[in-house]
């Protein structure tokens, strides 16, 4: 099937056409970056997922998190389900692993900010 994509490598935003059975054959691109982007998008599209997780006993109610690496695009919602079920306890430090191997992706969920314990 021919897929139509918008290239995000630069502001030009070329309209790319790529056959997902022949990912080497890309048209519409104006530079090699576009061809590579289209190939990745049809063979193994990946994204970093970011979200917020509730913190018990923290100075803030939520701590922001991200996947430690990009995950396959079709695993985004599976990961979100795990992230949304997550509860953590303060203190949380930036970089702490809050959940390892999220939804079988082999990728961890890490805190992207520090939330100290709430002063009594």
């Amino acid at each position: 099937m021919i897929r139509e994509l918008t290239c995000i490598c630069c502001p030009l935003g070329c309209r790319l056409f790529v056959d997902d059975r022949h990912p080497e054959q890309v048209s519409g691109n104006s530079c090699p970056k576009g061809a590579q982007y289209a190939k990745n998008e049809v063979t193994d599209p990946r994204r970093t997922v970011t979200a917020s997780v509730r913190v018990e006993g923290g100075e803030l109610p939520m701590v922001s998190v991200k996947t430690s690496r990009e995950i396959p695009k079709d695993r985004i919602f599976a990961c979100m389900e795990k992230i949304r079920a997550l509860r953590v306890f303060a203190p949380v430090k930036l970089g702490d692993v809050l959940l390892s191997d999220c939804a079988g992706t082999g990728v961890d969920i890490v805190a992207t900010k520090t939330v100290e314990r709430r002063m009594p």
Partner: protein, 429 residues
């Protein structure tokens, strides 16, 4: 009255970077005044990634980017006062602020750096008929509720405006289980970055309806739906194109306005195109010792450029103190200088002015174009002499552009008394 070398108003990315660079350049006592309970500004709620590619050569989330600056400011021993709202800045550089501990306090500074950022354009500015039901949020408010407070804003949402915050929130709401029906944009192009359109809308199959707007909001207590309509080239709704989308939430992402109440009260020259003060190449307003940087000056797309611009303001403020200390200066001691003229296709430039004494270095001019142009060039002229011509495959109002003027080029413009930036032919979409 306590005296500081520099008082920075606002502890967001601009304020933090300005304070750091001022210290780096020898400024002594520096005070950052922040209205919120913590520094970092809007980055605290921008939990998505994509920050810092230029500054740190890696992709960080907003809180991570902020943390790097917050740590450096702490290490540098720069005094930071949170929960402190500045209510007045005087021409004599006295700064009046209020907070719970000190009440009403005045401090004096040798230089003041304005870094108050911007605010979202509210519903009231849009003239959408209807009642005032619950469920209408500016995109940034929804971002704060969802990301910082963990609140669900609604089950089904429509987003008006395709600015970056609206696009980011379309993805964020989708991930949190809110169905986003559409993003409507009154212009024929999106005001957001391309990569946000792809990764926030296309990835989740959310339609972007260009040339569309909300003409009515239904519901009395809670939003029950919005009526969308196509608009013509004059942005007027086309009769017969209305359609109802049932939803309980409407997000508005319809532009950001630099927050310049303090600046205006100060009597600084304002630029109507940017909504911020006019500055020279040192990021200095027309009032001696008052500098400005970041979104209070003009709204940026990328925080990396805010950090660069703010660092320049911080450095120049520190140098200014050294030059001017002990000498009471008359308004704009360096003379008029020349204005950068925004020629054809250019909406504005920052700085707006080159003062008459250059400092022998390059000047980065940031600007936006007024429409979408393809296969065109950005050109800089002084009289008939073309100083710079840069080919551009595509120019769009949503992406800030920049170019560099060398000391030689600046001097030529000063001698000729003119400098003009314009977009040169190409297909206009």
């Amino acid at each position: 009255m306590k005296e500081y070398e520099i008082v920075v108003i606002g502890g967001g990315p601009a304020g933090l970077a300005a304070a750091l660079e001022a210290r780096e350049n020898g400024a002594g006592e520096i005070l950052i005044l922040e209205r919120d309970v913590r520094t970092g500004g809007i980055l605290n709620q921008c939990i998505h990634n994509g920050f810092g590619l230029h500054t740190f050569q890696e992709e960080l989330t907003g809180p991570e980017y902020a943390d790097r600056f917050v740590q450096q400011v702490r290490k540098a021993g720069i005094e930071t006062r949170c929960g402190s709202m500045v209510i007045r800045v005087g021409r004599d550089r006295t700064v009046t602020y209020v907070n719970r501990e000190e009440g009403l306090t005045q401090v004096r500074a040798k230089a003041v750096i304005l870094a108050m950022g911007c605010r979202e354009r509210p519903r009231g500015a849009l003239n959408i008929p209807g009642y005032r039901p619950a469920g209408i949020y500016s995109a940034g408010t929804a971002q704060r509720l969802v990301n910082l407070e963990g609140v669900c804003v609604g089950k089904k949402a429509v987003i008006l405006g395709s600015g970056d915050i609206g696009l980011i929130m379309a993805r964020r709401l989708t991930l949190e289980g809110t169905k986003v029906l559409a993003v409507a944009e009154v212009m024929p192009y999106s005001g957001g970055l391309k990569r946000n359109i792809v990764q926030c809308l296309d990835d989740f199959g959310i339609p972007l309806l260009l040339n569309h707007t909300v003409v009515e909001i239904l519901g009395k207590k809670r939003v029950e739906g919005v009526v969308l309509a196509r608009v013509d080239e004059n942005r007027k709704p086309v009769p017969g194109t209305q359609r109802l989308l049932e939803c309980d939430t409407l997000l508005l992402s319809v532009g950001l306005l630099p927050e310049n109440e303090l600046t205006r009260e100060l009597g600084a020259d304002m630029d109507r195109a940017t909504g911020g003060p006019c500055v020279n190449q040192r990021m200095e307003t027309r009032i001696p010792g008052i500098f400005a940087c970041g979104n209070v000056l003009h709204v940026h797309d990328l925080v990396d450029y805010v950090s660069q611009e703010a660092a320049l303001a911080g450095k120049e403020a520190a140098l200014w103190i050294r030059e001017e200390s002990g000498r009471e200066t008359k308004a704009d001691c360096r003379g008029e200088g020349i204005f950068l003229q925004a020629g054809r296709g250019i909406r504005y430039t920052v700085p707006q002015r080159l003062d008459s004494a250059g400092n022998g270095g390059n000047v980065t001019v940031r600007f936006r174009v007024d429409g979408v142009y393809q296969d065109s060039s950005i050109a800089v002229y002084s009289k008939d002499c073309c100083l710079v011509r840069k080919k551009k495959r595509v120019l769009s109002p949503g992406e800030m552009e920049q170019l560099v003027l060398t000391a030689q080029q600046q001097d030529l413009c000063r001698r000729q008394g003119e400098i003009r930036i314009c977009v040169e032919t190409g297909r206009e979409q």
